[in-house]
Symmetry: C2
C-alpha cells in the first residue's frame, strides 16, 4: 500500500525494535538513509539497528563508528533505498525478504512486496525522503544525522552534478549544512580520496578502453585478476563506472566487471540521448535513466556482445 511521508512517520512512531535493511554493495545513499533513520529512531527512545552488509567500504565508517550495538528481537522491518529484494544480501533476504513492513525508496522500478511503500521517484537520493520523514517525526537534526543525509544526497547526485539534482536537493543541502553537516570533508572522502590500490586498478581498467558506434560509446572492462594485480577489491570499483561517459562525444559509457564466478556485472552511464534503464531491462537489469546495470554470463566477449547489441538498438 502506497503511503505518504506523514503516514510513514506515524508508522515509525507507533513501532519499536526496528530493523533497517540496506542494499548489498552499499553506497552512500542506502547507508546514509539507514544510519540517519537509526539515529532519529534512537533519539525517540526506540531500539533500532541497521543490518549492515559485510563489504562496506571503510570510507563510510564515519556514518556509524560512534554507535553502540543494540540487541533486540526485531518487530518491525524497514528497507531503505532497496528497489528489489534481490538487492538484499543473502542473509537479509532469507530472513526478512518476505517480512518487510515498510519500504522507503526513490527508484521508479521499486518492486519490493512490503506492507507499506513510501516511493518518491523524483527524489535524487532516498536520503531526501528520509529527511522529510525525520522532519515529520519532529526529531531535531543534529550534526551526525545531517552528515548521514548529506552523504546520501551528494553521492547519489555525484556531488550535485547529475541531472537528477533539483532545487529541493540544493535546499536540503543548505539546511543540512546549517545543521552542521561537513560538506567539504564528506565530499573529499567520497570523491577525492583514492587509495593507491584504486589508482592502480583504475589505470588497469582504463587501459582496456574501446570505442564503439563512431565514438559515441566507450567500453572498459575489469578482469578478475586485476584485483590481485592492484591490491584492490570490488568495494573500490564503483567510481570507475562514470569514467568512460566523461569522454568527449561519448553518450554511453559501459563498465564490465568480472565476478568471481566468471560472470559479468555491467554498469551503464548515459547522457540524455539514451535511457540506461531501458537498455539494461533488455538484459533483465534496471535502474535509473542515466545510470543502470545488469548481469551477463561470461566470458568477456559474450557479455560485451550482448550489451553492445542492446546499446546498438538505441544508438542507431
Amino acid at each position: 500500500m502506497k503511503i505518504d511521508v506523514k503516514k510513514t512517520a506515524q508508522l515509525l512512531e507507533n513501532h519499536n525494535n526496528i530493523i533497517i535493511l540496506v542494499h548489498s554493495n552499499p553506497d552512500g545513499d542506502t547507508l546514509g538513509c539507514g544510519y540517519a533513520l537509526l539515529r532519529a529512531l534512537r533519539k525517540l527512545g526506540k531500539k533500532a539497528e541497521v543490518l549492515r552488509p559485510e563489504n562496506v567500504s571503510k570510507k563510510y565508517n564515519y556514518l556509524f563508528d560512534d554507535l553502540g550495538k543494540e540487541d533486540f528481537t526485531p518487530e518491525y522491518v524497514v528497507s531503505v533505498d532497496v528497489a528489489d529484494i534481490k538487492l538484499l544480501e543473502k542473509d537479509a533476504r532469507e530472513k526478512y525478504g518476505d517480512k518487510i513492513n515498510l519500504a522507503i525508496d526513490h527508484h521508479p522500478s521499486n518492486c519490493v512486496e512490503s506492507e507499506y511503500l513510501l516511493l518518491e521517484d523524483t527524489a535524487a537520493a532516498a536520503c531526501e525522503i528520509i529527511y522529510k520523514v525525520i522532519d515529520e517525526m519532529n526529531v531535531a537534526f543534529d550534526k551526525k544525522i545531517a552528515d548521514c543525509l548529506y552523504t546520501g544526497i551528494t553521492t547519489d547526485t555525484g556531488c550535485f552534478r547529475y541531472s537528477n539534482t533539483t532545487s529541493q536537493t540544493y535546499m536540503m543541502a543548505a539546511k543540512l549544512v546549517e545543521h552542521g553537516a561537513d560538506g567539504p570533508l564528506i565530499n573529499r572522502i567520497m570523491f577525492e580520496t583514492k587509495t593507491k590500490s584504486y589508482v592502480i586498478l583504475e589505470k588497469l581498467v582504463m587501459d582496456t578502453l574501446e570505442m564503439h558506434f563512431d565514438g559515441r560509446c566507450a567500453l572498459v572492462h575489469l578482469d578478475y585478476d586485476m584485483y590481485e594485480k592492484s591490491g584492490s577489491d570490488e568495494s573500490e570499483t564503483d567510481p570507475i563506472a562514470s569514467k568512460t561517459r566523461q569522454i568527449e562525444g561519448v553518450c554511453v559509457g559501459i563498465f564490465l566487471r568480472e565476478k568471481e564466478d566468471g560472470s559479468f556485472k555491467i554498469s551503464l552511464r548515459t547522457l540524455e540521448e539514451v535511457n540506461a534503464s531501458e537498455v539494461c531491462r533488455k538484459l533483465d537489469g534496471g535502474g535509473h535513466a542515466r545510470a543502470a546495470g545488469c548481469q551477463c554470463d561470461g566470458p568477456f566477449e559474450n557479455a560485451k556482445e550482448k550489451i553492445l547489441a542492446a546499446v546498438g538498438e538505441y544508438l542507431k
Copy 2:
C-alpha cells in the same frame, strides 16, 4: 568607500552606459558576474558591455553567445571579481585602471582603488554578491542570468566541494535552478567533459607514479613526447596536477611537466600539513597555501631531486 548591496543597486540604477571589467585569464566566476550584470542592466533599459579579454576558453561561450554588441561611450566603470588592477588585461588596465567607479568583489585581499567598493569576503563566489545586487534592483531572474550566476558559483566552489561552500551557496543554487539554470549541463561542461587525447595523456602521466616519504608524497611527470603520443597539448594538462594529491595518505602531490626547452614546470598540491606556497618559494616560485608552482632546469632527475629536497624539509 565601502558600500552595501542596497547602495550598490542604487548606484547602478542611477547610471547608464556601463562598462564592466573582468580579470584576465577569465574564469567562470568573473565571466558569470560580468554577463549576469550586463543582462540585468540591459533589462533595465541601460546600455552595458563587458570588456571581454582575448583568451576566453570556448567552453564559456554559452554565457554570452546570444548577446548583441552595443556601441556607446562608457560613463560608468564597474569591475567584478577583480582583486587588483594588475589582474586586468593590459588594454583594460591602461584605459580604465584608474577610473573604476564601482568594484564588486569577494577577495579579502582586494586593493582596487575604486570610488566605491562592495566587498563580501565570506561569499564563496563573487556571483553570490551579484545575485544579491540583481535581486535588490528588482530585476526578474531569467534562465540566462541564472545560468551565468550558477556558473560562477559552481566553478568557484569546485562544484560545491571546496570549504568555501556555505549554506548561502546551496540556497542560491536552489533558487537559480528554480529560475531555470541548467546545473547538470553547466557542471558537465565545466568539470566532466574530457577529450579522448586528455584521457590518454592522463594515463601516460599516471603510469609514472612514484611514492616518496613513506607514501606522504606522490610524484608524476610528463615527458614532452607524451603530447605527440596522446594527441594532446599543454592546454589540457592542468587537471592532472590535482590527481596525485587525491591518493589516500598523500599530503603533497607533485606534477612535473617537461617544456619544449627541456626545463620543467612543477605544480604542487597539498593538504593542510604542508604550505605549498612556502615550498615553491624555495625554488623561486609561489602561489597559494594548497596550490603553488615553480620552474626547474632539466633533466627530469635534476628537477625531481630539487623539488623533493624542498618538500622534504616540510615532511621530516
